[in-house]
Symmetry: C2
Subunit: 623 residues, 2 copies
């Protein structure tokens, strides 16, 4: 690897089957760290305004970071990026598992995939050797089969494979990318792969990640592990229950949304589909490479037509989308829906929200059995839910209407249904009812990826974390600055270093900047201070915002669904609350101020961009 | 490996978690070759008469042969053996894929599994190292998931795994053993694994198979490959279509059974589910280790709820059982049923015949929706078929009635339904309507495993092979001797050497004895003549027969279902034919004579056993 840190990019042009290595300049590493940060910079630099997300001019990136492949725990995380076909904004989704470390071992920090193959293809990368192969043998297959057939075909079971299912091939704008049993789920990145005729990327490597100073690394890791062990949640609860604890926790706070956000935030069937229920279906645990926590829960359906179906999950968000959102209280069916979605390569969150949306329309009589192909699409009908998932992936009947998310579905259906479409910027809402968690609301409204809990998760509202300061989940005060802090820390640490978000959320937040800086210094040899981490996070959010601004996004798009702003919760611990248009405006003003952006347009200012060493971005935007 | 051939047995006692290596004596290799031959000898020697097939006293064997792991093509075949829970006779089923070669590389010819684990377990074998591990994490899982989870758990994707699905765990007497996408399908051997609390065997090896003379091997292999290339069927048809050609071929002969053997032998929907139809669903091919043919056909369902489901197959027999037998002409549903059965670990053949049996009873009004849990169980109802497969594996409702095969189902249902139960000795009939293929009939009646096309496949009737002599498929003449020849050749070559049956059937039959002898000599260093091969085959059939005789089987059990003997085919190319009781008796007399067995009892005689160096077997039987 040489004796100084080098980021390596592999440019894969599918149109002419060309592979070319490039260096990621060290100042890019310093400024953007890696992962999402580096990816977003390349996205801004290389994908022109107005590009068709499903055209050959869009680019797809798999991006890991300096920590990936080192002994730093919980760093087998990969950002998948492109211009989102679902939102037309920055598309960013993270995945874990083993692919990220394997990619680093193969020698790469970033795979930058461009063009379009003339027929279904997959790419094989082994320690710097690249082959473009026909995907005829796997086109149409589910993701588990696809991965196995490719391993068999390469006569090597040790490849790690990221692929799409039928949903991605069929260009569903809510299609995901799957590696092993993990998903880079949201924003329709699977459809980008499909649009490029790219079924899979298979990778294998035997190299090692660069470490500038083993001594410094050891010291910084030791601090990190201490913080992890000190967490009352990470090992004691999270390792045992994974994310399912959220069902109980958030229901007790009145912020677990159900039935297309028409319920009270207290989830009635929590005993049937919550933490303990899922625990009773658990048969084992899994982990990503180099993770001491092992939060992945292998869960087995037990009854009826679902018996024997396994999922790694369902995660909290999927219990929301296929449980709460659809009113389904049959845990086995949620497990089956989760697995089916992974096999078909459909984002469980967007798909579940879309089904809940359709169920509300059916209950209201706006959709009838004529539209549903005979399905009695009432809340709670788990068989209809499973059937719709299949139909969405294959764009059949009502599935065709819903396959591109709720925003487009509402356009197709018309009849004023947009007001029932729970999304921001086209991305379906995650499982935090922002009416009882205001900072989550600001984040949903402002995240550069749409309604995305992962881009600025308000740990203060959920875990009571007191950094940078405590927060009242119902108040508007200081929520703008808090959201900036959450977004910037998250972008630099979890999304770029990278580091598993669960570790940040439950253990590392108070020391994340310091620890990430120390680890960056140890790994890259760059001199790196906590302020540099924060600055990198801010820089990443600014470039991402600039990308969106160039696509036409502004303050008007930083909003929330009408229901959230006009229908207060009717009962439960968050009773009476909603984020009114005025509340949101107050918080947005504070957010833009904290960001140094123009209050009216929501655009980054030249001054801010220049401060962040991004004058060229200001030039490009013409601000 | 030393410089003389040694067979190695690994005895695995699950009760006390003990593993012990033993040598398979060279005279056992000489007399029984390996694979099924060696396994049947150990079965006879070690499993006492009257043993409960699902008790700890039954033994389970995985047995490969001298050819396995050498460069000899098509030898990655493994016999799985035990006393069958379905028939109470010898249980033998073969599988291919990669497990057999891996087992040889790990150093073993025979895994002999005895006792019963006190809790769900799996066994890990790596180059002579053995570990017994808890299967808590895979118990209840489908077979694909089971294999992947174990690989992940062992941190080694290169293990090859043979396992059971829920059907085996639930002791369905028609449960199979699955390795990769291959099945040791018949006779309920999966239930033996389940009864022993053994979910899986994971194996990996780095050794090499012993070869006494590379020069001799090269010469004999060259002859074998020449014969394979000369076949007008093997590469030109079989590699392209796999076994699906049989649907068209046998339908055109009027011997493709349908609707529980009530149809004409011409299969009406051959265009919808036959060779060309399946071809249109094919996306690729697979092969077993060391096979130049690649007959495995990856087939993808295309429509509706089945879209995206893949199967390696469905093979000819499964198109019969889930198509012909059930009257289903929806190919996608047959693909889905095939895959579901593999995932649940249910033998597709027995399961399909059982469903067809239930469908006839429903059509006759003997079963009603009260019995079926509301299912309209008419011939052709593919959704009901899929639902019943799931119910059988989990023993739910009517599935519980059918889960142990048609003989036991008929006992449970009563009302004279045994006459609709298409089986011999409890084993459901394969896809050759013996009313138009008499030698197949004798083989069904006499095979030591029950109605098993694989134990003495009458190639003369199907491929027109003229060795040992041509045969008229409707005549009784010489069918006894022919069946003996087929059974003995098959036992020695395909089942013991081993060698893929498809190669024997389509290419090698005329030279099989000579070629197998030459290969045996080359591999083992033993002096081996064609007559020795034939003799070994005869010996294997005699020991197997002796096992069954000791269990109480005799001439009375060498029979065929009433329908086959009393209802001539009503139309088509085999119109008017059936094997009457008299026809069968004529052929049985000739068969026993050819075998040198007692005509009245059907028992092997002391003279014959002594001639085969099996005096100890005669002692044991008291003949």
């Amino acid at each position: 690897m040489g004796d100084t840190y080098k980021g390596k990019l592999l440019r894969l042009n599918l149109t002419d089957q060309r592979a070319q290595e490039e260096e990621v300049p060290l100042d890019v590493v310093r400024d953007f760290i890696g992962g999402a940060g580096t990816g977003i910079k390349y996205l801004f630099d290389e994908v022109r305004a107005g590009a068709d997300p499903l055209g050959p001019e869009n680019k797809l990136m798999f991006s890991v970071g300096p920590f990936t492949g080192t002994p730093i725990p919980c760093a087998s995380r990969m950002s998948v990026l492109g211009k989102s076909p679902l939102t037309n904004a920055v598309g960013l989704s993270l995945t874990g598992g083993y692919f990220p470390v394997e990619m680093k071992k193969a020698g790469y920090d970033l795979l930058l995939i461009e063009g379009k193959a003339d027929k279904p293809s997959y790419v094989v990368i082994k320690d710097g050797e690249v082959r473009f192969r026909s995907a005829a043998k796997v086109w149409g297959t589910q993701t588990t089969d696809c991965q196995q057939i490719i391993k068999d075909d390469l006569h090597d079971q040790n490849f790690r494979i990221a692929c799409i299912g039928p949903a991605g091939e069929n260009l569903c704008r809510i299609a995901c990318v799957i590696n092993e049993r993990r998903a880079a789920g949201r924003k329709g990145l699977g459809a980008i792969m499909g649009s490029k005729n790219l079924k899979a990327v298979a990778i294998r490597g035997s190299g090692k990640a660069f470490i500038a100073s083993k001594e410094k690394l050891h010291a910084a890791m030791s601090d990190m592990v201490k913080a992890m062990k000190a967490s009352p949640v990470l090992f004691p609860v999270f390792a045992k229950y994974g994310t399912s604890r959220g069902v109980n926790n958030h229901s007790s706070k009145g912020i677990f949304p159900a039935k297309n956000w028409t319920a009270t935030g207290e989830f009635a069937p929590v005993d049937r589909v919550g933490m303990e229920a899922r625990q009773s279906h658990k048969i084992g645990q899994t982990r990503c490479a180099g993770c001491p926590v092992s939060c992945g829960q292998l869960t087995l359906a037990k009854t009826g037509r679902y018996a024997g179906i396994l999922s790694e999950g369902p995660e909290y968000e999927t219990i929301y989308s296929y449980g709460g959102q659809t009113g389904v209280d049959n845990l086995d069916s949620i497990i089956a829906a989760d697995r089916l979605s992974d096999e078909l390569g459909l984002d469980t969150m967007s798909a579940g929200v879309a089904i809940g949306f359709a169920m509300e329309l059916f209950e209201r009589g706006i959709l009838t059995t004529r539209d549903t192909g005979g399905l009695e699409l009432r809340f709670g009908n788990h068989e209809a839910m499973i059937e719709l998932i299949q139909k969405m992936a294959f764009r059949e009947g009502l599935g065709e209407v819903l396959a591109d998310g709720v925003r487009i579905a509402a356009e197709r259906i018309g009849k004023g249904t947009e007001k029932y479409a729970m999304h921001v910027k086209g991305l379906e809402l995650p499982a935090y009812d922002v009416r009882g968690a205001y900072a989550h609301g600001v984040n949903y409204a402002t995240s550069f990826t749409g309604a995305d809990h992962n881009r600025g998760y308000a740990i203060q509202e959920i875990f009571g974390v007191a950094v940078p300061h405590p927060a009242d989940r119902f108040g508007t005060e200081k929520k703008g600055g808090l959201t900036k802090w959450n977004q910037d820390v998250r972008a630099a640490t979890c999304d770029s270093a990278p580091m598993c978000a669960f570790v940040l959320d439950t253990a590392l937040a108070p020391v994340a900047l310091k620890n990430t800086a120390a680890l960056m210094e140890a790994v890259t040899g760059l001199s790196y201070a906590p302020e540099d981490v924060m600055k990198a996070g801010e820089r990443i959010n600014n470039v991402a915002r600039a990308f969106n601004v160039r696509e036409g996004f502004g303050r008007a798009e930083d909003t929330l669904p009408e229901r959230v702003m006009t229908e207060p919760l009717k009962a439960g611990p968050s009773k009476g609350h909603c984020i009114s248009r005025e509340d949101l405006d107050v918080m947005l003003d504070e957010y833009y101020s904290a960001r140094g952006w123009d209050l009216k347009s929501g655009k980054p200012t030249r001054a801010k961009l220049a401060e962040l060493n991004l004058a060229y971005v200001a030039d490009e935007l013409g601000v």
